[in-house]
């Protein structure tokens, strides 16, 4: 019996881009490592280069060391060894100078609840050494871009968590720094706000801004980034474009299915299995008499699983074989 294919996820159309011309290196990280005084090793051997105008997403399991890496990059955490260069400036030797080129959104940072949205932006713009006039213009621009116009004169304390998160992103954008470092910028945002932030990031990139962001959302990494860095257990285990990462997987088709014994039972686990070819996946469907399944090209999520050994969302998938 030949099983009917119920659904096949649409194959993504990849952007076809010509081979990039050599570009200036915006960030160069070499052999970065951090060992705390109690001997705990946070990360080691991280080396990567980010080109000007590029978007690099940092993904990895919880506790993998994504934030540690970004804190080292933004000079907040002193590495034990290694070097970080931002547009040619040694960020370890001259952190203030390096930070002039950066807009940073930390994963967790407090805002000044009693300041109004406008005051918050204006005063922080001045602290980024913008003139009074520039600070006013930058404030208006960021407020409009982050869709906070109706909140301009409200105190930050009266805003929702998502709006406060947008303020933190806006503070990074002030003054249009050439490098944005965003640690999980959209965590906690509703889907509409998340898309709005993606739009903000894209517009920044269109004007030549380099972006390094960490994320828990695979879709975010796939949609926004030119290259993806996978960090696990404090080490950089993969770095490349999505296509480059996919070619590292020898099994490039994913079959998702429920057990043939009781496929309609909503409690039966969704299972996933990888195959080298579409035909092999079909053979498996026939052999196991599967009736509810889908076949799709492997995605970043699958690459992530293959590299880290952890499914991206444990609640939704159980991976076998």
């Amino acid at each position: 019996m030949v099983a009917e294919i119920k659904s096949i996820s649409p194959v993504k159309v990849k952007r076809v881009t010509p081979a990039p011309a050599p570009r200036e290196i915006a960030v160069r990280v070499q052999d970065l490592a951090k060992t705390y005084r109690d001997g705990t090793e946070a990360n080691r051997g991280i080396s990567l280069e980010v080109r000007r105008g590029e978007v690099v997403a940092i993904v990895g399991p919880n506790g993998a060391g994504k934030t540690t890496f970004l804190r080292q990059l933004t000079t907040e955490l002193r590495p034990t060894t290694g070097s970080v260069s931002v547009f040619g400036v040694d960020a370890l030797a001259a952190p203030q100078q390096a930070k002039r080129a950066m807009g940073i959104t930390p994963q967790e940072a407090g805002v000044f609840e009693r300041l109004t949205v406008r005051e918050h932006f204006e005063l922080f713009a001045r602290l980024k050494h913008l003139s009074k006039r520039e600070a006013g213009a930058a404030t208006r621009e960021v407020i409009a871009e982050l869709e906070l116009s109706s909140e301009t004169n409200k105190s930050v304390g009266s805003l929702s968590g998502g709006q406060r998160r947008r303020i933190l992103i806006g503070l990074a954008l002030l003054g249009r720094p050439p490098l944005l470092v965003l640690d999980e910028p959209t965590t906690g945002l509703d889907p509409a706000s998340r898309r709005a932030v993606w739009g903000v990031i894209r517009r920044a990139v269109n004007t030549g801004t380099t972006v390094i962001l960490s994320t828990h959302y695979m879709e975010e990494a796939e949609r926004l980034s030119d290259r993806i860095a996978v960090i696990a257990a404090g080490r950089l285990i993969a770095f490349g474009t999505l296509d480059e990462l996919l070619t590292r997987m020898d099994k490039s088709y994913r079959l998702s299915y429920r057990d043939a014994i009781n496929p309609t039972d909503p409690l039966s686990d969704l299972k996933i299995r990888y195959f080298a070819s579409f035909a092999q996946a079909q053979q498996h469907i026939s052999r196991e008499l599967l009736s509810e399944y889908s076949i799709a090209r492997a995605s970043l999520e699958d690459v992530y699983f293959n590299l880290t050994g952890e499914p991206f969302d444990k609640d939704e998938t159980e991976t076998i074989g």
Partner: protein, 246 residues
């Protein structure tokens, strides 16, 4: 110029951040010391207390007020910034840690200026005879604030939690007043404590404020001691108050 702008912006952020609480802040900076003045005066005999004692009580209350604003409340602000993640926000900027501290310190200075003026007016209303050289008094107050703020910065930078830091700044803010001969003569203290108290910045500050309020100028040694202590405590505070974590 950039540094001055940075300091002013941090001050404005702190001021705007507490503007709805500035009343209670100032009231507390005035109320405690004023009550202490009245209490000490009453214990010393009220209206029959010698003018010299009343001058000492007023000087003591001014130093008490400076101690509260510099150690307790400045420490509180720094601790609040650190443990609510606001310090992290400042750390993302090309801002020197010392500019941040001086910005908060400017806020403490503004508080101190208002509470000292109010206490001086209270003293005058209650008949305390003073004839201060205001320039000298300003210098004494400035050095006292710098010196005590350094202690607040050290505690705020090293505290492991907000509650631990708050307890320490409160204890230091009041303890440095009552362990020093601020409200009474040094001879009234136990001998061992007297030696220790001679090293406390509040001792130098109380002596200098009292002398200045009386119209005297012989405070060179106390100014020197306050200045040296300010250099040491602030240098240590700046060293500890780093954006970068080890």
């Amino acid at each position: 110029m950039t540094r001055a702008t940075d300091i002013l912006c941090v001050f404005r952020i702190q001021f705007a951040g507490t503007r709805r609480e500035v009343g209670p802040f100032l009231l507390a900076a005035f109320l405690f010391p004023a009550a202490m003045y009245l209490f000490a005066n009453a214990v010393a005999g009220g209206d029959v207390a010698p003018p010299q004692s009343r001058l000492r009580f007023l000087a003591g209350s001014i130093v008490f007020s400076l101690s509260l604003t510099s150690i307790s409340w400045l420490g509180y602000l720094l601790l609040e910034n650190r443990f609510t993640g606001r310090l992290k926000l400042f750390a993302t900027l090309p801002l020197a840690p010392s500019s941040y501290v001086f910005g908060v310190l400017l806020f403490a200075l503004a508080q101190a200026a208002i509470s000292t003026t109010t206490l001086l007016l209270l003293g005058r209303a209650l008949g305390v005879q003073t004839g201060p050289n205001f320039l000298l008094l300003t210098i004494v107050i400035l050095l006292t604030i710098l010196c005590l703020c350094g202690l607040g910065v050290i505690v705020a930078a090293r505290a492991r939690s907000f509650s631990q830091g708050s307890l320490l700044t409160d204890t230091l803010g009041a303890g440095l007043i009552f362990l020093a001969p601020v409200y009474y003569e040094p001879v009234m203290m136990p001998r061992a404590l007297r030696v220790f108290a001679e090293l406390l910045p509040t001792t130098f500050a109380a002596r200098a404020v009292q002398t200045t309020l009386a119209g005297g100028h012989a405070i060179g040694n106390d100014l020197l001691a306050l200045g040296l202590t300010a250099v040491v405590t602030l240098a240590l505070g700046f060293r500890l108050m780093e954006w970068r974590e080890d």
